[in-house]
């Protein structure tokens, strides 16, 4: 015998005719509605931020900074002395990035950046931090076992190379200036930038090589 249960039918109707977002998504919608109503944000600027950071602003800005430093010794010196001012010359410095320090890899030093507290990251020039940078495992292991973390990323650091770990804060963030690959003297700045990986500017990549060499 088929029973008619009004409550169940109503539930089924709701299920079929609604696409209820997750609990977190509902809480975010509530916040956005309230903040807009109070004049603390506007929806257009939030949409523009998301579009910019998911589509336009990525590590290529950082790669341009690195390529310019490789190509222009005066700029490199200004960059290492005062990263924020030098990057501001290119118009890339975000309001909320805080002070930015550029740390330079050499033959004998490798730099690795982490934020042990949360996930401070120079996102105005590198885009949103990768998933692993925000993971608790990276934030703890980068300090405790940097060589182990680097090995996991395929970066073998010989014992004669010193590994320095830099802990970012909201007020001081870091950008690694990787070493220029050999045999790249003839390349343009844009071509040089294409060799620079996001991870090399965080420190989980080290030896950048020309793509043709990879294929060979």
């Amino acid at each position: 015998m088929v029973e008619f249960n009004a409550k169940k039918v109503a539930e089924l109707h709701h299920h079929l005719h609604s696409h209820l977002p997750s609990e977190s998504a509902l809480r975010v919608k509530a916040l956005e509605t309230l903040l807009v109503a109070k004049g603390l944000i506007n929806s257009e600027s939030i949409d523009a931020w998301i579009e910019a950071y998911t589509e336009d602003i990525g590590p290529k800005r950082g790669a341009q900074v690195v390529a310019k430093a490789w190509n222009d010794e005066d700029f490199r010196q200004r960059l290492v002395q005062d990263g924020s001012s030098a990057i501001d010359e290119l118009g890339y410095l975000g309001n909320a990035t805080g002070h930015l320090k550029v740390i330079e890899n050499t033959k004998s030093v490798h730099n690795l950046v982490v934020c042990t507290l949360c996930s401070c990251y120079p996102f105005s020039i590198l885009g949103i931090a990768p998933a692993w940078y925000k993971a608790a495992a990276y934030r703890s292991r980068a300090v405790r076992d940097p060589r182990g973390v680097l090995a996991e990323f395929g970066v073998q650091i010989s014992n004669d190379i010193e590994v320095r770990v830099w802990d970012s804060t909201a007020e001081l963030r870091y950008l690694v200036l990787p070493q220029r690959p050999s045999n790249t003297e003839a390349l343009s700045e844009d071509e040089l930038a294409s060799l620079v990986t996001r991870n090399s500017m965080i420190g989980t990549d080290r030896d950048l090589i020309k793509k043709e060499e990879v294929k060979a």
Binding site: L20, V28, K38, A96, G98, A131, W132, A137, A170
Partner: protein, 122 residues
């Protein structure tokens, strides 16, 4: 900072996360965008944000929550709610009430039609 080691074990190898998307769901991007906008507008400082998010992540690690991007962004959302409550007239009760309004709106809107709220001054 002490992190619960059990999180290390729960995580897939870091390098396997290298190609993962920076956001898994739209709300994660929206939460981060609101946090950055509120820092820029001065409702709270970058230091306030960093310290509060750090505390929330520490609590999450101490609970041995799974070390995932979802867990991270849940901490982002919790921190955002807390700082908004601390620095504005928007309190937890108002947030909860507005969340209920959105749930009702979704449930009462036929599929395919835009979901909107009947806005009342708050």
């Amino acid at each position: 900072m002490k992190l619960n080691d059990s999180n290390d074990k729960a995580l897939k190898p870091l390098v396997d996360m290298d190609g993962d998307p920076i956001f898994d769901e739209a709300w994660q991007a929206q939460a981060l965008a609101m946090a950055d906008s509120l820092v820029k507008s001065g409702l709270f400082s970058a230091n306030d944000w960093s310290n509060a998010l750090g505390q929330s992540l520490k609590e999450s690690a101490n609970r041995a929550d799974i070390d995932s991007q979802l867990t991270y962004y849940q901490s982002v959302l919790k921190t955002l709610e807390q700082l908004i409550a601390d620095h504005s007239e928007i309190d937890a009760a108002l947030m909860d009430s507005k969340r209920q309004d959105w749930e009702k709106a979704y449930l009462n809107t036929p599929h395919g039609q835009p979901v909107t709220l009947d806005e009342k001054p708050c």
